[in-house]
Assembly symmetry: C2
Amino acid sequence: MRRATAQDVADLAGVSRSSVSLVLNGHGEGNIAPAKQRLILDAAERLNYRPNAVALSLRSQRTRTIGVLTWPSAAGTSSLILSAALRTATEAGYLLIFMDTGGDEEVESRALTTLRDRQVEALLVIAPELTDYRPPETMLSVPTILVNCADPQAGVTSVVPDEAGAGACAAQILVDAGHTRIGVIAGPAESVQTRLRVAGCRQVITTELAAPVQFVGGRDVASAAVAARTVLTQAEPPTALICAHERLAVGAALAAAQLQLDIHRDLSLVSLDDGEQLASQLNPAITTIERPDRAMAEQAVTMLLDRLTREAEFSVKQLAFVCPPAHRDSVVGPRLDVQPEEAASRR
Amino acid sequence: MRRATAQDVADLAGVSRSSVSLVLNGHGEGNIAPAKQRLILDAAERLNYRPNAVALSLRSQRTRTIGVLTWPSAAGTSSLILSAALRTATEAGYLLIFMDTGGDEEVESRALTTLRDRQVEALLVIAPELTDYRPPETMLSVPTILVNCADPQAGVTSVVPDEAGAGACAAQILVDAGHTRIGVIAGPAESVQTRLRVAGCRQVITTELAAPVQFVGGRDVASAAVAARTVLTQAEPPTALICAHERLAVGAALAAAQLQLDIHRDLSLVSLDDGEQLASQLNPAITTIERPDRAMAEQAVTMLLDRLTREAEFSVKQLAFVCPPAHRDSVVGPRLDVQPEEAASRR
DNA sequence: CTGAAAGCGCTTACAG
DNA sequence: CTGAAAGCGCTTACAG
């Protein structure tokens, strides 16, 4: 069954296509006789008429479509970013077309061509975790925003989490709680995201504490467990741990369990990132510094829409979003081993 | 800078639009003089001409676009399904337009209308975990496949994992290894996915073992840890555990660590699902039954494309994909507490 | 107040 | 061998 066109409506109502268009777009008043308006509305209703968006696009030269490029891969991209971007765009009447690059420049280039052919009005590049992104030349022809990745040359505007700030926040929480011996499960050194988080920790710890801090590796759950075990079994173990990622926190929790260390009583723990809602599912729930995925996505899409509708130029090149702490039950003051005389004096 | 149109190419080459179209679409041979063909090709190249896909769609009445509806929410949807669907569609020259329903029928209905207006040729409905899905009436006008969800009335074709088979497979692995006392961390009872997995386990265990099996709850990491601890500390504890989901396996691993139980030596563990690659990151890596996300997505898109290009009707109403086991290091035979005389007799 | 015409960018018969 | 015309479905000036 073919979809009804404006011509079908016009035929049924006994008027011309122009009249149908006028009435259905709210320009009937003062132009079309009230009786005819009713006729047209009824006919449209009866035929279940809806304008063909493709024809509309060709006519108006606007597709109301935003291309989304996942880089280096769609796998791993935050579904929170996706859903927030989706919702914001939909509410404004825009559609999102997704394409994956697979981290391959050749594929990326073809994807950009396809998107350009489809006349997308703007572009969003989304990365699973903060990385550098070097936009190809062709990208410049359409308003573009990078989400969770940034152009080192700052040629393209980006919306990113303040990862260093997040690391600093984590460290500050522990320092404020009174910890002086802090260990950091740092994660893979080649990751931009991890490097920034650790740098933020280091900054706070070294200035506030003037105490040595231990940075150990860990790239997945198992290796984080090993790293945590190593640092927790040495002579003067840290009283608190910072994990650069929630998976590392799972590893740390595993190590603590093996060592019969209670995460509330014996050891404090702060984790960066709770995108997978893993850290918050542990017992006790781990205090985390969250990545503002929803806010970043909303901001990016909103900026794009503003640019498209109001022709407003982007006023900033990089927007770094604060990562808010979620205080849970894994942080308390350091455990002071109670001395007999001290205990006595308390009475 | 405006994009070049076929008219621009025609003007530059000094021919008509028709000739440009003919040559650029490979119908030049025998129709257009070789010299003119060269002229046209050069002009197109010089102007960086690419046909406008919107105009093409209007003309051909084909948008080469598939709508993707995430249900009940985009958050949590497997990025593996997304990336596989993306790749398969892209390779065939099709585009994917995503819309989220947020689990709201009103929103879903609006999304379907929008997709219909945009003239999508087919529809994919994707769920984060196996659930029932009742397609609204309006859906029936375009070829549709449900991925990871199924229509109880079987009105719409669906591609799903064989969750019961996955559960059975997990149980069989432990039975084959010689375990007779098996505990199951079952997960939330209201989840279709979980219910089927547990039913599969139960089936195998009760027929193969004629031994009682313990099913305990667990809905997240923390509660799974509690459940595992309960079952492992009773009088005759199970020698092996099945977790209906990898998050539950993390909980079980935590409980085991607290109880100083070694997952290889003292306790075997099989987990369903490794979509987040959590179970495989533990130490030892946990044997899992994988969800065939990639295969399901490829199959669904391929069926849709076949239907669109070859007009082939769907021949099956439901495709249940086998969930393949990934054997790792968490399964060995049950630990037989070595009796002195037994040990002696072995010498 | 209303219809005929033009045009968005394309391709495919159809004349010549 | 090549160009003019028609038409996909729409809207917006423009005549009347």
